[in-house]
């Protein structure tokens, strides 16, 4: 993990994010601040261009008062954390059972060809990364992809074309992991 991530630039939470993370720790009994780790990592990832560098994980450890290894082992377990740099928009396609039945696989192929990148790769302009993920709970509205906070359901080639176009024009809001 270290070899893949050590080239990250230095990272510190913004003052607002740091305050938010410290506020989160109050949900748990005294001495249990570690419980805030998953959301603290989501917030760090958002402030670090969508991925967790070692510097970002160390900042989470420092903020929560736990050791860095406690953060690394958690960050490497959960699939939503990116341990390598990603594009501005991460297109996460569900490829599990019900989505596959509704044509997810050909849609993923279509998008790969359209953007000229494969799974877990980022377009040269740094805009798009394609990920294939497991069931996201949209089986009745398949096929689907998640981008940032939002689900894009009943997906088809036309909708992907439109979405990619809108992203290129900077019209797409990914949502935010900070408090609403």
């Amino acid at each position: 993990m270290h070899t893949a991530t050590q080239n990250g630039t230095p990272f510190k939470y913004s003052p607002a994010a740091r305050a938010e993370v410290l506020e989160l720790t109050k949900k748990y009994p005294e001495g249990r601040a570690k419980s805030a780790i998953l959301r603290a990592l989501h917030i760090a990832q958002e402030e670090n261009q969508g991925w967790l560098s070692v510097a970002a994980m160390d900042e989470v450890a420092d903020t929560l008062g736990i050791t860095p290894i406690e953060v690394y082992e958690v960050a490497s377990f959960y699939s939503m954390y990116n341990l390598n740099p990603v594009g501005k928009y991460v297109l996460e396609f569900c490829h599990t059972g019900p989505c596959a039945v509704e044509g997810a696989e050909s849609l993923i192929e279509y998008t790969k060809l359209k953007l000229g990148v494969g799974k877990n790769q980022t377009t040269p302009d740094g805009l798009f990364t394609i990920k294939e993920v497991e069931c996201l709970g949209a089986c009745g509205y398949a096929p689907m992809m998640q981008v940032g906070e939002f689900f894009h359901e009943h997906l088809n080639e036309g909708k992907i074309d439109q979405f990619v176009e809108d992203c290129r024009l900077g019209k797409i809001d990914k949502g935010t992991w900070k408090m609403h």
């Binding site: 009994p29 998953l38 709970g137 398949a142 949502g175």
Partner: protein, 446 residues
């Protein structure tokens, strides 16, 4: 139209807001419980209702609650499992999006019954927008005096928080969920001790599914006996079913557990039949982990009786000819779907989601995925089919948590019911690959 106890007002405009929810009878169960009932009386009502865990295992909720240890001076916790990740299941998402206050109300009433003063909702990371819906609703509930200190002047205090996951199916297993809530990797714990004795931070803890907790609201409002009148036998009340796959009307439906599978599948009130006028090939009635049923065992049991949408009827015939209600993830396959491809797809899911703690699951799920992949892609051998059965058998029952079983069952069931289709993939790899879908009518008569 069947009775709806949970989703009756789901389509009311603004139902996610406190005011609209309250106007439609919201928070009555909290008033009733805190003002007129002892905590034990609430537990009694839940026992009487016959409510069974809606997350998949179907364990009686009242009994689970009564196992909670109550040592002096030790806090107790109620944790809601909103880590809905079973492929084919999206009912909890619907409930939380549309009526977040129903879950919050259920959490308050249930926490009161269990004597918990701090409770958590653990929601999967990908449902991030629902996290914000829930947090907004919780803030409204605090402002209206339903949460916090001395609720309704009863002397009962409760704080309710939402904790977010980060992408791990295994965290739907209750002890993995507790590990995750403690800020660790989601590795399931060895039981005993059970969470009821040593759960969150080693304190007695109850973990219940979203739908289970929501069902406590009508049970307290109308009484456990009234709830138990709905349904058949030990399948009491209503159940949320997530319907997906090749059907005309996919979506989330609340059904009384007394309708037949045939009604559910073909009536326009629910699934509305198979899409495009095609024929039914198979159905996974309870989420990806449960055994797949071939078309002739979906609507009828092996004995030729109508199959009902109940825990008992769906498992009639055991694994030989039955399946399970599970989480209610009802996935339908039409005549053009390939069973081998679908089985490989699910095997890939479990291989990806295995936490890696137990060797049979960590290694076995990976091998099943590899072998199924080569069968699906034209490189399979006839001996692979029995190899898969053998690997599945060696995983089943040999792991700390049920993920191993959940990975093994779909593979064994697919081979049990569709062996010819696996053999056809070995004998005619080119045809299978070119068509990229399974046996069609003329081959085996789906």
């Amino acid at each position: 139209m069947g009775r709806k106890l949970l989703l009756e007002h789901a389509q009311v405009e603004g139902m996610h807001t406190y005011d609209v929810y309250r106007k439609n009878g919201g928070y009555r169960s909290v008033e009733k419980a805190l003002k007129t009932m002892s905590p034990d009386a609430v537990v009694e009502e839940v026992k009487k209702s016959g409510l069974r865990g809606r997350g998949g295992a179907g364990f009686p909720t009242g009994m689970k609650w009564s196992f909670l240890a109550k040592p002096e001076g030790v806090p107790r916790y109620l944790v809601c499992n909103a880590d809905e990740s079973e492929p084919g299941t999206f009912k909890d998402r619907y409930l939380m999006e549309k009526i977040p206050h129903l879950l919050i109300e259920g959490m308050i009433t249930s926490s009161y019954a269990l004597g918990a003063n701090t409770s958590y909702i653990y929601i999967r990371g990908e449902y991030s927008w629902i996290l914000f819906i829930l947090e907004k609703a919780i803030a409204e509930a605090y402002a209206a005096g339903w949460l916090g200190k001395n609720i309704l002047g009863s002397g009962y205090d409760l704080d309710l928080y939402v904790n977010i996951g980060a992408g791990a199916y295994i965290c739907g297993e209750e002890t993995a969920l507790l590990e995750s809530l403690e800020g660790k990797r989601g590795n399931p714990r060895i039981k005993p001790p059970f969470p009821a004795v040593k759960g969150l931070w080693q304190s007695p803890t109850v973990v219940n599914n979203v739908e289970t907790i929501a069902a406590v609201v009508p049970i307290i409002n109308d009484g456990g006996d009234e709830y138990a009148k709905i349904g058949i036998g030990k399948s009491t009340g209503t159940k949320l079913i997530s319907a997906s796959g090749n059907i005309n009307r996919p979506g989330v439906y609340e059904i009384e557990m007394s309708i037949t599978v045939e009604e559910f599948l073909y009536s326009d009130e629910w699934c509305g039949g198979i899409k495009g006028g095609k024929k039914l090939k198979a159905c996974v009635p309870g989420g990806s982990s449960v055994p797949i049923l071939p078309h002739f065992l979906v609507c009828k049991t092996a004995a030729g009786e109508d199959r009902m949408m109940t825990y008992e009827s769906l498992s009639d015939g055991g694994f030989a000819t039955g399946s399970m209600l599970g989480s209610g993830g009802f996935i339908v396959y039409d005549e053009d779907q390939c069973i081998v491809r679908n089985t490989w797809n699910f095997a890939r899911f479990y291989a990806h989601e295995s936490c890696g703690q137990c060797s049979p699951c960590r290694e076995g799920t990976g091998w099943m995925e590899k072998v199924l992949h080569r069968l699906e892609n034209g490189g399979g051998k006839m001996s692979d089919i029995d190899l898969l059965v053998d690997v599945a058998k060696k995983i089943e029952g040999n792991t700390i948590c049920p993920l191993g079983d959940a990975a093994a069952w779909p593979v064994s069931a697919a081979i049990r019911h569709f062996r010819e289709e696996f053999e056809w993939h070995v004998n005619e790899p080119r045809v299978c690959m070119e068509r990229n879908y399974g046996l069609v009518r003329e081959k085996i008569g789906v």
